[in-house]
């Protein structure tokens, strides 16, 4: 169903975003000396995006009506946002892992956060038959140490050390 109505969803979403963006232009402080404030060009963007969003929405509705009798309809009806439930769950889990990295990086530091993240991320994507705990753990630890040494000691790029000190 998603693929068939994709453009309609997109048009509605873009309209909502345009509306929010337009409302944001009223919160800017206009400087007295400036003839054109910071809201001038964004409002022009809003005008164009409004037209494009409506065009995409209308195009989507027309395409849905036109393809009513097409043999591809049945196939499109089955297509969901994610290719599969498992795939969708993995994507959401990966994004949550990244959010946890952003939250934990300061208190735990780069090394511990990376070890935890890498291990869980590899577990998410590795085929079941290839998973061996010691292999994954070895890769995770060695990779983290290599990246830490490379960037901190060789390239002098400081990485967060966390409360524990490494």
């Amino acid at each position: 169903m998603f693929k068939r109505y994709r453009d309609i969803f997109l048009g509605i979403f873009l309209l909502a975003v345009t509306g929010l963006y337009y409302s944001g232009t009223f919160f800017e402080k206009k400087l007295a000396l400036s003839a054109y404030g910071g809201e001038f060009v964004p409002r022009i963007y809003c005008a164009f995006m409004l037209c494009l969003s409506v065009a995409i929405l209308v195009n989507g509705i027309i395409n849905v009506r036109k393809t009513k009798e097409s043999i591809d309809v049945a196939k499109d009806e089955q297509e969901t946002f994610f290719h599969s439930r498992l795939g969708g769950a993995k994507v959401i889990a990966s994004m949550l892992l990244l959010v946890c990295v952003a939250l934990m990086m300061k208190p735990l530091g780069f090394c511990i956060t990376t070890v935890l993240y890498l291990f869980l991320q590899v577990v998410l994507v590795i085929p079941k038959e290839r998973f061996k705990f010691w292999k994954v753990a070895l890769f995770v630890v060695l990779f983290t140490i290599a990246i830490d040494v490379l960037f901190v000691k060789v390239f002098f790029v400081p990485l967060p050390v966390g409360l524990i000190g490494f």
Binding site: Y45, Q121, P158
Partner: protein, 501 residues
């Protein structure tokens, strides 16, 4: 031109040569790995340049650019999977040639054609760029606005099937770029009270998020379907190249190089399109078009010469106007920005040595690419057999390091996650990422020059059309938009009629 070259070569020390070689090797690995694009590889390696000086950083990036563009032919020929979109057309004849027992020969043709395209486009770059800079230095804000407007409309209309979605993607980029300080009066806007947004989103975080994170999320979605390992079935016993193999192919390579340079100059399009167009042109012009797709050298030479020719062409708008020619030159723009170097016509006057150094770096990179690939292709074949389920999480970590490394702020990781999510969602809804990136990069420039232009013309936009060059450029953009729209509508009607019948 030769004096400039000599000055550029004067900057190349042994350490710079090593850095270029490192960049070329890493670029080949990135280019050869399916799912990792040149732009992604360059974005991931950006943190490595933070502690380098400008000359070294640019040399490293030049090596990555050349190596990455060339490396895609390895998996294209051996696995029928292009390592980068730039090598898609190489699979059409490269894989059949490999299956006929001539994998080494196919790789040899690719490597030599890549070198030819890269060198010829570099010579063109060195000859044309300084002359173009002398013209563009006289560009006022109205012309600059027109050029950036043309760039965004070109990329929006040439990439993807829907011009509406292309333009929407471009405007999304421009809207995201408007977060932070307004260009003329520096008032803050759309920050939602978050002080980290006051300076806008860092370009590096946008590039890493959009190019790397979104691609990785797409892989994760299908990771249970796609096997993480690749299997190479071919054994090499040398390349078997002879000079007479190239007789009769010189015009093919020159024509393909011209296609590559032309596509490279057009902002935002890149090598992914040039190789297909060059292949099509070679097939249409050939005396034996029916043999294309069966494993003939003409197709391989056309594709690889064109994709490497883009490297020189794409640098022309970057150096002369500050408009990146493709995703990889967008990363180069980010590198220059980090060192407070503003590309544009004044670059040749204020940082002429740097530009000449870049030319010399590209030449050295092309030579290294030829040597490294001819001697070391077996090593690269081994390296890209690292399972994806280890490789891609490792790349995610590099993305995080890249985000933190630039400003030493953990909050930049949030920007990477946000843009990765935006990139993933845009792909799901059928929106191309290239117009969004171009809109993000060019939006502030376009806005600034538009407002300055209005000031110059006394608040009249119609007065933009009183300036001949500006009027011509804007008219080209509008006419092209209309032409592509009509063409797409006709295509859609034809497709609908065909599917009904």
């Amino acid at each position: 031109m030769f004096e400039a070259f000599a000055v550029g070569f004067g900057q190349i020390s042994f350490s710079i040569v090593l850095i270029i070689a490192l960049g070329v090797c890493m670029g080949i690995v990135f280019g050869a790995s399916p799912g990792i694009t040149v732009s992604m590889g360059m974005a991931l390696c950006l943190p490595i340049t933070f502690t380098m000086d400008a000359i070294t950083a640019i040399a490293f990036m030049a090596g990555l650019y050349v190596g990455g563009t060339s490396g895609g032919c390895i998996t294209a020929i051996l696995l029928n999977i292009p390592g980068t979109p730039a090598s898609l057309a190489t699979t059409f004849d490269g894989t059949p040639m490999a299956r006929n027992g001539k994998a080494g020969l196919a790789l040899g043709y690719s490597i030599v054609a890549s070198f030819f395209g890269g060198i010829v486009s570099l010579v063109f770059l060195m000859a044309a760029a300084p002359q173009l800079a002398k013209i563009t230095i006289h560009f006022g804000p109205t012309k600059y606005f027109a050029m950036t407007f043309l760039s965004i409309t070109l990329i929006a209309s040439l990439v993807g099937d829907s011009i509406l979605k292309g333009l929407a993607s471009g405007f999304i980029g421009m809207m995201l770029a408007s977060v932070g300080q307004a260009p003329l009066d520096m008032s803050t806007r759309f920050t939602l009270g978050v002080k980290e947004f006051a300076a806008g989103f860092p370009l590096l975080c946008v590039l890493i998020g959009v190019y790397a994170i979104s691609e990785l999320l797409k892989y994760v979605e299908d990771s249970h379907i796609v096997n993480g390992e690749v299997t190479m079935k071919y054994v090499f016993n040398g390349f078997g190249l002879k000079i007479k193999d190239f007789s009769g192919q010189l015009w093919n390579m020159i024509r393909s190089t011209i296609v590559g340079i032309g596509i490279g100059i057009l902002p935002g399009i890149g090598a992914g399109t040039s190789n297909i167009i060059a292949y099509s042109v070679a097939k249409d012009s050939s005396k034996y078009p029916e043999k294309f797709g069966t494993g003939i050298k003409d197709g391989i030479l056309a594709s690889e010469a064109a994709n490497n020719a883009v490297t020189g062409g794409a640098l022309i708008p970057l150096l002369t106007l500050g408009i990146p020619g493709d995703g990889a030159t967008a990363i180069l723009l980010a590198v220059l920005t980090i060192y407070s170097i503003t590309p544009g016509p004044l670059l040749f006057e204020t940082s002429g040595d740097l530009v000449n150094g870049l030319f010399a770096d590209m030449l050295v990179a092309n030579v290294f690419m030829l040597i490294v690939m001819l001697l070391g292709v077996k090593v690269f074949v081994k390296l890209i057999q690292i399972p994806k389920y280890y490789l891609l999480p490792g790349i995610m970590v590099l993305c995080i390091v890249g985000a933190i490394g630039q400003n030493n702020r953990v909050s930049d990781v949030w920007a990477v996650i946000i843009f990765g999510t935006i990139g993933f969602l845009m792909c799901k809804f059928g929106l191309d990422l290239a117009p969004m990136i171009m809109g993000f990069i060019l939006g502030p420039t376009m806005e600034l020059n538009f407002l300055r232009g209005l000031t110059y013309t006394g608040d009249s936009f119609l007065a933009f059309f009183n300036r001949p060059i500006t009027a011509v450029i804007l008219s080209i953009a509008i006419i092209y938009l209309v032409y592509v729209s009509i063409r797409n509508v006709k295509k859609a009607r034809k497709h609908h009629t065909t599917s009904r019948s």
